[in-house]
């Protein structure tokens, strides 16, 4: 699409009707300047290479909720694994061959009388090694401030309306642990293998803002 006749002034909309995102031409923040300075020094001194930095970023980007879904599916399928997972989440996940160091994982289980939901009010702590990068809303001030105050209303906005009989337990991930919600296995999945079970476990199910659907 030619770009020479568009009006890019403030408030103009793209051909699809969306506002243009402003170019990030502002000055670097102190943290951004520090990151660039440290990275360039490390490369200049031969401690790391630019390729290694790019590879580390690419490795992080391979993390996705599919890893967490495998963990949930195995817990549904294998009671021994589930017991180990609840007792020591880090060790159980590493025993599956998923490297989550240095994360310390705590798994919290939904039941027919309890629903768990995870938030980090202080920043955006999130089990990236199992779920990949957090969604933008997880880092928003609205989600962070409202989830500890009115979790039922927040969950309803995600389409999850919990019956009164279910207690809500919010986990504020403020420090060194990372949390994974183990949803209850839905009815109608009897006889499914782990791969099929993993297919219904979404990212939001493991944050606690959704339930698996069959």
């Amino acid at each position: 699409m030619p770009h020479d006749h568009h009006d890019h002034s403030e408030g103009a909309l793209s051909p699809s009707g969306h506002p243009y995102r402003l170019d990030n031409d502002g000055p670097l923040t102190e943290a951004q300047a520090m990151e660039i300075a440290v990275r360039e020094l490390l490369i200049e001194k031969g401690i790391v290479t630019a390729d290694e930095v790019a590879a580390a970023i690419a490795h992080m980007d391979t993390r996705s909720p599919a890893l967490g879904a495998q963990v949930v599916a195995r817990a549904w399928h294998d009671p021994t694994f589930k017991a180990a997972l609840m007792a020591d989440g880090t060790a159980a996940v590493e025993a599956m061959g998923i490297d989550i160091a240095p994360v310390k994982l705590l798994v919290v289980e939904n039941t027919d009388s309890l629903h768990n939901v995870v938030v980090c009010t202080l920043c955006s702590c999130y089990p990236r090694m199992l779920l990949g990068l957090p969604p933008d809303w997880y880092k928003s001030r609205a989600y962070r401030s409202r989830t500890v105050r009115e979790p039922r209303r927040v969950l309803a906005e995600f389409g999850l309306r919990l019956p009164d009989a279910i207690r809500v337990r919010v986990h504020d991930s403020t420090a060194d642990m990372r949390y994974l919600v183990l949803p209850a296995r839905p009815g109608g999945t009897e006889g499914w293998d782990e791969a099929a079970l993993a297919g219904i476990v979404t990212r939001d199910c493991m944050i606690g803002t959704a339930l698996p659907k069959v």
Binding site: L122, V148, R149, R153, R167, V168, T174
Partner: protein, 95 residues
């Protein structure tokens, strides 16, 4: 929510003077029950300033919504579990 023998604690209502701390403001001065002792970690409030960090016990404390938000609580018996370092906690009587 509290069972007999529950260990009640209160989060110290300290000012933070803009320093990096790991105890959110909404729980300071509030009373809850120790859910578990996780394990000691190097004190993040020292690490944040590049200082030598002694190990401090990290606990999880469970608060009722009614304790955190008073009469404005969305559902008084829902709860929030929070990780808090031991130096933010002091023993408290059961309510």
């Amino acid at each position: 929510m509290a069972e007999p023998g529950a260990e009640w604690v209160r989060v110290k209502a300290l000012g933070t003077h803009g320093l990096h701390v790991r105890a959110p403001a909404y729980m300071r001065g509030k009373r809850g029950v120790v859910e578990r002792r996780i394990r000691p970690f190097p004190n993040p409030e020292k690490l944040a300033y590049g200082l030598p960090a002694e190990e401090r016990m990290l606990l999880r404390v469970r608060f009722r919504m009614a304790e955190l938000w008073g009469a404005g609580a969305e559902r008084p018996d829902d709860t929030v579990d929070v990780e808090i370092y031991e130096h933010w906690l002091e023993p408290a009587d059961a309510p």
